[in-house]
Symmetry: C2
Subunit: 310 residues, 2 copies
């Protein structure tokens, strides 16, 4: 059978799947650790070779990468979690090795692309996708096209200032959305409150994670509920601003934190509705949780290479 | 001679110009007051008829409108400064009357389009255009396309929160860029400081305008310089965020306040450079003052109708 290979490259694992030309159920799907005795590039190539054995002909390869990348020239500028990946012409390397079309994308962009093609965003032309996990990232479809920018660095949606006096962000700037509403930020805020002896069922765990906080909120813990509500409020405020910029018909929320339920989502919706300058921005607007889970990037990479091979 | 008509519709004046098929020097250019004995729509049609007399055949009509408008369906939702323009199907009305293709756009979007086609943005594929005058608006070209959104309401660039505790915006929300850095906001801040007896050569004028403040800054007035620097800092911060979203190759600044010189521009550039998360966003970035002045919207409307008529 002919088909495509898609790779999802993360800081912990590399996953590769082989797909038929026109279905999204993989023929074969394997994963390995990103770090090992040989380099991540060699490990990726070995896994692509292995999984390609399930296809008669490989028609193309799509891959998503966690980092700054220019998809137009297939160059990875930096991928902080992948050892040695700096100014790496990965597209050229894979093309040289496999002699088929290769398409690369940033992981959040590819997740947006996957949700657009196969997930919660099907049929929409203007999509804001925001992923909320350790950090906050995103991707935007504007009039049926992924917004990339002239070097491919667009839609870094976590790095907008929402509170100038707010806490320091991982990027070294103050008050970004990521520093206030990512899983890391939620966990840090709860730890700070626990250190001030705020009452909570979390006070026995020294370093609660965003997942612990989400579970505590469901059990009725007031501090955990406040933490999620606070994050939801900042996300809603930022999303209102993004609606003024993109006037999208759907907002898709991905990443672990997006599954925190009403304690996050209700304040998020309220802040969004309170902050738009006109109800016209809410007209026909859908807000949905992402549907593809961990496979969004893989399926986005598949959609991208398919779109470039027809 | 065959040619196109372009209309620039403002709260004070309606301007209409007739252009040859492939030049930007108008054959005839007229303007009338927006308000008079008959309705703005009738006045617009009369002026279009009058100016069309300079052409043998009208090939199409482009127009920019100050307000919320869906250019895909040619509908004006609201245009607060034009009496009676609410849910007005202007494109259909003009098409019915003239029987030629008609294209409409929001005024800031059309100014962006004009600067892209004929002005400071020529040759760029990714443009942020921001106009700073009474209010703050803008338009974005992403990968050679105007960003519109699903109802055409995109790129309301003045209505992003840059300081949550900041002053109230004209739209009724707190801390928007427009409330901190528009000409109106600059003038209001100076008036507040004068009421607190801040020393300034402006203290003799009861209500200094943004233009007065700009002139006072040039004469060395410290309060006026501080007012422009403060606005520049907020604009630079917002533009850094927009670069993270669009990764554009050029920022074009239009509107009266953009001509305030180094007292505005130096703090703007510093804030922009200080706030980007990676120098990659500055790589190849140009920052330019708009070139087309008051004709940007007219020429954008011309470019739009030409692009739709070929």
């Amino acid at each position: 059978m002919d088909g495509f290979l898609a790779a999802d490259i993360g800081g912990t694992h590399i996953r590769v799947a082989a797909y038929p030309t026109d279905a999204i159920k993989p023929i074969l799907h394997k994963r390995i650790a990103t770090r090992g005795e040989n380099t991540p590039t060699e490990r990726l190539i070995d896994l692509l070779v292995e999984v390609s054995g399930s296809l008669d002909h490989v028609l193309g390869i799509g891959a998503d990468v966690p980092g700054y990348i220019d998809p137009r020239i297939g160059l990875i500028y930096t991928a902080p979690n992948i050892p040695g990946w700096r100014n790496l012409p990965l597209q050229a390397i894979l093309h040289e090795r496999f002699r088929v079309p290769v398409a690369l994308g940033n992981d959040a962009n590819m997740a947006a692309y996957g949700e657009w093609e196969f997930g919660a965003g099907r049929g929409h032309q203007d999509i804001i996708y925001m992923t909320i996990s350790t950090g906050i990232g995103g991707g935007v479809i504007s009039d049926n096209k992924l917004v990339l920018g002239h070097h491919g660095l667009a839609t870094e949606m976590g790095h907008v200032t929402v509170w100038p006096e707010g806490p320091m962000c991982s990027c070294g700037h103050r008050g970004h959305l990521e520093a206030l509403a990512s899983g890391t930020a939620i966990a840090r805020w709860v730890s700070e409150q626990l250190a001030l002896n705020s009452p909570s069922i979390l006070s026995s765990s020294p370093k609660p994670t965003a997942r612990d906080i989400s579970q505590a909120a469901e059990k009725g813990d007031a501090l955990a509920q406040e933490a999620l509500g606070r994050a939801g409020k900042f996300i809603g405020q930022a999303l209102a601003n993004y609606l003024h910029i993109f006037n999208s018909s759907i907002i898709i929320l991905g990443g672990g934190v997006s599954h925190s339920g009403p304690y996050l989502m209700d304040p998020l919706r309220s802040a969004l509705e309170r902050n738009v300058i006109s109800p016209a921005y809410l007209d026909g607007l859908q807000i949905k949780i992402a549907e593809l889970g961990d496979d969004a990037g893989l399926l986005g990479s598949l959609a991208l290479i398919r779109s470039q091979s027809t």
